[in-house]
């Protein structure tokens, strides 16, 4: 065995000889000519490979082929499908991704892009079996398939009378129902937990106390979360006149809920919808100069707290023992800053994204892998319709985030198809990425969701 200095010397000498053996000027010129020949042999599409995707458009219930975009090397064999007039899904497109820099341990299938006409989407949630996606907006909740093999006329929507968007959609573990918080009737009452039976369409208010949001003793029930055993938990925010207290509750059925754990102070809290083993994570923000990430054990035992000085982040995702935190950037260029909080160690590590400094890139979406061991980010270049990146990084045992690897590029990762002239509401918030064992589902803009299978 030799010492560090000898290793340094050996590497330096070997590196020098490697540089000396590099191609000389003649070989470099020949390689350059070969490269230009390869470039000339490609279809001239402004420098980007193009593929043609069949797209179905439905306007006012009438199906029509609206547009054929993108794609070389694809015979266009995808089937154009009709969509019923009552279906809210207005367009669909499928195709292959450009994968120039695919990471070694993840490979992607064909994306399924679905657009929604009308009111903006507010939330997405993937079913436990990853076969369906629930999307919500002010008027309704819709269930759509993640499989291109399932026709869109199998989609089902459940209209709401109130015009108030549901929040924190959560699937029951058996996939038969959704629970969310919602002001069902829109009469200025505080949000209650509502269950939607997907078979019958029946809505059941689980925690209705009939108290207006500004009334004495009002309680806001938010952030419902099922643990794997099927138990429903949520946070109840009480007594807004005296500083909000957030208390974890367990729903026991028949309108009865039991308080668990301590009252957590902070105004207003935001909650992740993930469950870390046997605990639930909540962010208490808007404390002066700092925020607090709290993990509460569902057995009523201990809670763990991570105080974050400076920014006031919100939880973008929770998986494993980790939370992905996001806050508006403190620099003039705008965008978002992101951190990974490792709950057991208390470490909060920033995610360094060098691409942001080198271009007009902005983070537009983020999410954690199911085990919390990786993070996925989507960056959109507002000056380049095709300049979008899907980045993935490993998260080390201490919560620090490794180098970001470009997993894929392309307009599939752009809000509103990457049209830089459109400034969708999605650019003003962090888009959601729901990462399941089957793939990625993301919503970057207000009117579309993309399903990207992992092979």
């Amino acid at each position: 065995m030799i010492d560090d200095e000898q290793v340094e010397g050996a590497l330096s000498r070997a590196g020098e000889r490697q540089r000396a053996a590099a191609p000389d000027a003649g070989a470099t010129q020949r390689a350059l000519q070969q490269l230009h020949a390869r470039r000339a042999a490609e279809p001239d599409n402004g420098g980007h490979r193009r593929r043609v995707w069949p797209i179905v458009a439905v306007v006012g219930g009438a199906a029509a082929v609206a547009l054929a975009v993108v794609v070389a090397g694809n015979s266009g064999t995808d089937t154009i499908r009709s969509v019923p007039a009552t279906d809210p899904v207005v367009t669909e497109q499928r195709g292959e991704l450009d994968l120039p820099d695919a990471a070694p341990d993840l490979s992607l299938g064909q994306p399924l892009v679905r657009r929604f006409d009308g009111l903006p989407l507010t939330d997405i949630a993937v079913s436990p079996d990853a076969d369906r996606i629930a999307v919500s907006r002010a008027s309704e909740v819709c269930i759509v398939s993640t499989s291109p093999a399932v026709p869109t006329d199998a989609d089902r929507c459940y209209p709401f009378p109130s015009g108030v968007a549901p929040g924190s959609i959560t699937w029951a573990p058996d996939g038969t129902a959704l629970v969310f918080h919602h002001d069902l009737f829109g009469f200025g009452q505080e949000p209650d937990l509502v269950e939607l039976d997907l078979a019958t369409g029946e809505l059941t208010v689980l925690t209705d106390d009939g108290v207006p949001i500004d009334g004495d003793g009002g309680a806001l029930d938010i952030a419902p979360t099922f643990t794997p055993d099927g138990t429903l938990y949520f946070f109840r925010l009480s007594d807004p006149s005296d500083g909000v207290q957030a208390v974890l509750h367990r729903y026991d059925g028949d309108g009865v809920a039991t308080a668990i754990g301590p009252a957590l102070a902070g105004v207003p809290p935001t909650a992740g919808r993930g469950v870390s083993d046997d605990s639930i994570v909540i962010m208490l923000s808007a404390l002066v100069g700092s925020s607090e990430l709290v993990s509460v054990d569902v057995d009523g035992g201990t809670s763990r707290s991570i105080v974050i000085e400076g920014p006031s982040p919100a939880i973008a995702d929770v998986a494993g023992d980790r939370a992905l935190l996001v806050a508006p950037s403190r620099v003039a260029s705008g965008g978002f800053e992101l951190w990974v909080a490792d709950v057991p160690s208390g470490n909060v590590a920033p995610i360094d994204i060098p691409q942001l400094a080198a271009s007009s890139m902005r983070v537009v979406g983020g999410g954690l892998s199911p085990d919390g061991a990786q993070v996925a980010l989507i960056l959109a270049d507002q000056d380049d319709p095709d300049g979008h990146l899907l980045l993935v990084a490993d998260i080390a045992a201490d919560g620090s985030v490794g180098p970001l690897t470009v997993l894929a590029t392309g307009p599939e990762f752009a809000p509103n198809d990457g049209d830089p002239t459109i400034k969708p509401a999605g650019l003003g918030r962090l888009g959601e990425i729901v990462w399941t064992d089957a793939g990625l589902v993301y919503s970057l803009g207000p009117d579309e969701i993309v399903t990207l299978p992992l092979l």
């Binding site: 065995m1 030799i2 010492d3 560090d4 000898q6 290793v7 340094e8 010397g9 050996a10 590497l11 330096s12 000498r13 070997a14 590196g15 000889r17 490697q18 540089r19 000396a20 053996a21 590099a22 191609p23 000389d24 000027a25 070989a27 470099t28 010129q29 390689a31 350059l32 070969q34 490269l35 390869r38 470039r39 420098g47 980007h48 490979r49 120039p100 820099d101 695919a102 990471a103 070694p104 360094d352 994204i353 060098p354 691409q355 400094a357 080198a358 271009s359 270049d381 380049d384 300049g387 490794g402 180098p403 970001l404 690897t405 470009v406």
Partner: protein, 169 residues
């Protein structure tokens, strides 16, 4: 930028970067043929997106990252190696001087390191980049680069032995 001007600026970029990329990718992959193909692929990607890449603060860092990402894709690399081996059956290897066998033994040890450690070693010792530039390529902090380098050297020290001529094997 006109097409002519675009081609001129890219060609200058290619002439500067291609030899360096081939050097680091040869050390990284162990195959000169694979390295030349990976370098050309990465530079072709740069040409395809030259209007964007040329505006980056460091197009060189971008193309290194792309090249190393491509190298890390083992499946693609194996396919390229197979293709390269096939080509080698009918064409002689480059006439350029190859590294010595002692070097090859060392690089073989380097290729047994983790991907991140391998990246920093070839960028530091073959490409001769300063730590700040390696951090830019890797998309991480300088401290992380130092940590990878220290761990890489420690791992190498455990497996190589000093020789009488002052080199190491």
């Amino acid at each position: 930028m006109s097409d002519h001007a675009t081609t001129e600026t890219f060609d200058a970029f290619f002439v500067e970067e291609f030899p360096r990329l081939v050097a680091i990718l040869t050390a990284w992959s162990g195959s000169r043929s694979v390295a030349e193909e990976l370098a050309q692929d990465a530079l072709l990607q740069a040409l395809q997106r030259w209007d964007v890449v040329a505006r980056l603060d460091s197009p060189g860092a971008w193309v290194r990252r792309v090249a190393l990402n491509r190298s890390a894709n083992e499946g693609r690399r194996r396919r390229r190696e197979r293709a390269a081996v096939d080509r080698l059956r009918v064409a002689a290897e480059s006439s350029q001087r190859e590294p010595t066998s002692i070097d090859e033994a060392l690089w073989r040890r380097v290729r047994a390191l983790s991907v991140a450690q391998r990246d920093v070693v070839v960028l530091r010792y073959v490409d001769d980049l300063p730590l700040a530039e390696i951090a830019r390529v890797m998309g991480c902090a300088e401290g992380t680069v130092k940590k990878h380098l220290q761990r890489a050297r420690a791992a190498l020290a455990a497996h190589i032995t000093a020789t009488s001529d002052g080199s190491s094997e």
